[in-house]
Amino acid sequence: METSTRAVGSSGTMTLTHLPIGKVGRVTSVRGSGRVTRRLLEMGVIPGVTVQVVKMAPFGDPIEVRVRGYNLAMRRSEADAIEVVI
């Protein structure tokens, strides 16, 4: 159901923080080389994978992201390193 709404052709990239809630995006890159980046990659957030922002926590941070069939919570500062395209 979610996958059918995937708009083809819109090529603007954005960071995951800006991906509207409910929209599915495809990861194009995960910037950085530190521990956080590495952990993100190991948790399966790698270029090519589809992600969806499920919701924000009540105070606006962290956010909940659906990736590879499970739900991952991350702070906005971490989501900022992830570039996606819709």
Binding site: R39, E42, P62
Partner: protein, 657 residues
């Protein structure tokens, strides 16, 4: 049997992501014969148990739950040391059983690929298949096994299904080496070459999953997501969190009070029986007043601690714990703490011990220590008798603004004071002693599950046992020291009391003798010694004795005051005799020893001071050094002194007291 035991001991390690069903499988494979300990020098739990493998018994080692073996966190370091055979006392495992959650296949298989790379044969135990298939998906286990080039076994950790096949596959695999074909040609088009392996592993996994799993997209709206919509809702989510906490506290306080009363009476009776059955003398007194009473004072809190462990286990096992952390992270991060610190701190309002032990889920060591260091500021239930006595004596029946009960307002103020100081201390610690760049928050929100009764109960009992075992010696030692301080040196009239006739003497004489003994003891001398220091707080040396004795546990203040003021040790905080005795108490120069301001000062002191030997013992265990508990004791005592000083001197300057 005997001959197979002679054979080389087989070692099997159990690895898997958190929430994959590892604990449940471990319990089902080993039964109740498991041993729980810590890895030497660290607080990572080490669980082991025997597993019957085709007639021979293997040693099954449960590794900590982990997502990766990159060795960035302590858990990962330990796990990779066990797998490579570098962990002292554990032979290199012959086979690793990787617990893989079928509903979360790709990320769970990531750990499996890393295991391959360690060169140890891996059997994949596929859990949660029943859930996966109920969602309408199908999985071809043979295909998955062929793609991964390693055996894959369907298990149901809850029902025990697949245990036999698992044992066979493990047995067959001993002595083989896994293949890692995906590492032969690493992807070249990566920004950071150090990440190439990660991409290669996921590429390999995606291929394997694509060939063996058929996803049913229609049923993708899972029940768990619907529940989550409510439980993490902006408004309802927070309201429900508050409701759950209220429910937990209500239950703890109402359910625990009966067994606590019984335990208290029980220990009293045992102490008396021991005294009656032994010849009077030091040994009998040490046993009954020192050891039984001291240890009893801690064990009395066990029902509460058990219930708290029960709720923490329930919240963890159902998946709610992670949601609470998700909801509260923003708030907690304002003081530099992780969202996961929220529930341990809240638990500390009942008792800091389960709270401190629950901080283990916080991965960053500094975050965890900061949480541990502020947990005792939360007003726990042992402080209630102290607050109650002070309020009953000096503030009963008074009101604020004509309609609010003064007692209720003061009680609330004490809770608030503890929280405020905790927040301030956390903010300072995170900027100084425990300064560190913020660790990644990244946290899985596992699907909600109906908690498994057996796992929950086992969890609860294991933790309670760990507490008793680890804190026991310290508690015992401190109990004896405190007893000796109050017992020696023996006064001259004491001989008369331990005489045969003593039993026939009137209780008031008994009380008087006990009071005299205490006043002349080392503790009494210490009370005199610290009097100059505590006089600015409005305390005389008798209150000083009570401060010293209540280091055992805060509520001991009440019984010590009862002894000092000649009313016998068995009065409780609301007893009118004790209330009257406190009101009538005089200092050595004949002025009233207590005023409402002194009472308030004492309450402030008890909010802030580290008056609890069990907490000290647990912090010693959880931080694995004496440094942190000693630091905690010193800085909390300093803050308590300053807080009490400001209260008393400020109150006097304003014309109170």
């Amino acid at each position: 049997m005997a001959s197979s035991a002679r054979k080389k001991q087989i070692t099997i390690a159990l690895a898997g992501n958190p929430n994959a069903g590892k604990t449940t499988l471990f319990n089902s494979l080993t039964g109740l014969r498991q041993k729980v300990a810590n890895y030497p020098g660290v607080t990572v739990e080490r669980k082991e148990g025997p597993w019957q493998l085709n007639g021979s018994s293997a040693d099954l080692i449960d590794l900590p739950g982990l997502y990766s073996l990159e060795a960035t966190s302590l858990d990962e370091q330990i796990a990779s040391q066990v797998i490579t055979g570098e962990q002292a006392g554990i032979p290199k495992p012959d086979v690793v059983v990787a617990v893989v959650d079928a509903t979360n296949l790709e990320r769970n298989l990531y750990l499996v690929t890393q295991l391959f790379e360690f060169g140890i044969p891996v059997v994949v135990a596929l859990t949660m298949i029943n859930i996966f298939e109920k969602q309408g998906h199908t999985i071809d286990v043979e295909m998955l096994s062929a793609m991964l080039k390693t055996p894959v076994v369907r298990v149901n950790a809850r029902s025990g299904r697949g245990r036999k096949e698992l044992a066979e596959k493990v047995h067959d695999l001993i002595g083989t080496t896994p293949e890692t074909p995906y590492l032969e040609e690493l992807p070249a088009d990566v920004e950071d070459p150090r990440h190439a392996k990660i991409f290669a592993r996921y590429q390999f996994i995606s291929n394997a999953v694509q060939e063996s799993v058929w996803h049913n997209d229609a049923k993708s709206h899972r029940l768990s997501d619907k529940i989550d919509k409510v439980l993490t809702h902006k408004v309802f989510g927070l309201a429900i969190l508050v409701l759950i906490l209220l429910l937990v506290f209500q239950t703890i306080f109402s359910w625990a009070s009966l067994p606590m009363d019984l335990l208290e009476k029980g220990f009293g009776a045992i102490g008396d029986a021991v005294k009656a059955s032994m010849p009077p003398g030091i040994l009998a007194d040490l046993l009954s007043d020192g050891i039984i009473a001291g240890v009893g004072g801690v064990v009395v809190f066990l029902p509460q601690i058990l219930l708290l462990f029960l709720f923490i286990s329930l919240l963890e096992d159902s998946g709610y714990m992670a949601r609470a952390a998700f909801l509260m992270d923003k708030l907690m991060s304002r003081v530099g703490l992780h969202g996961k610190a929220f529930l341990p701190l809240i638990s500390s309002f009942a008792c800091a011990i389960p709270g401190i032990m629950a901080t283990r889920t916080i991965e960053s060591r500094r975050d965890r220590f900061a949480t541990i260091l502020i947990a005792p500021f939360m007003s726990c239930s042992a402080r209630l008798p102290v607050y109650t006595l002070m309020i009953a004596t000096f503030f009963a029946g008074r009101t604020v603004f004509g309609f609010l009960s003064m007692g209720a307002v003061l009680m609330l103020a004490m809770y608030a004071l503890g929280i405020l100081v905790a927040v301030a201390v956390a903010a300072i610690l995170k900027r100084t002693l425990l300064k560190a760049p913020p660790p990644p928050f990244l946290m899985e929100l596992p699907p909600y599950r109906l908690p498994n009764l057996r796992t929950v109960l086992q969890n609860m009992l294991t933790r309670a046992w760990l507490f008793l075992k680890r804190a026991g010696t310290v508690i015992l030692a401190i109990s004896i020291i405190l007893w000796a301080l109050m017992y020696f040196p023996r006064g001259s009239q004491q001989t008369a009391v331990s005489d045969q006739q003593a039993a026939a003497e009137q209780p008031t004489n008994d009380n008087q003798a006990a009071s005299e003994q205490l006043k002349n003891s080392f503790a009494g001398k210490l009370g005199h010694l610290i009097e100059p220091a505590i006089r600015p707080l409005g305390f005389d040396w008798k209150i000083g004795i009570a401060l010293i004795s209540s280091f055992a546990a805060r509520e001991v203040l009440v019984s010590t005051l009862s002894i000092i003021y000649n009313v016998g040790k068995d009065e409780d905080a609301q007893s009118q005799t004790l209330v009257q005795a406190v009101k009538d108490a005089k200092t050595d120069d004949g002025r009233p020893a207590w005023t409402p301001l002194t009472a308030l000062t004492l309450m402030v002191f008890f909010v802030l001071a580290m008056q609890c030997m069990s907490t000290i013992a647990v912090v010693r265990r959880e931080t694995n050094s004496w440094r942190w508990p000693i630091f905690m004791l010193s800085y909390m005592t300093a803050i308590a002194y300053i807080g009490a000083f400001i209260t008393y001197q400020g109150g006097k300057a304003l014309g109170f007291g």
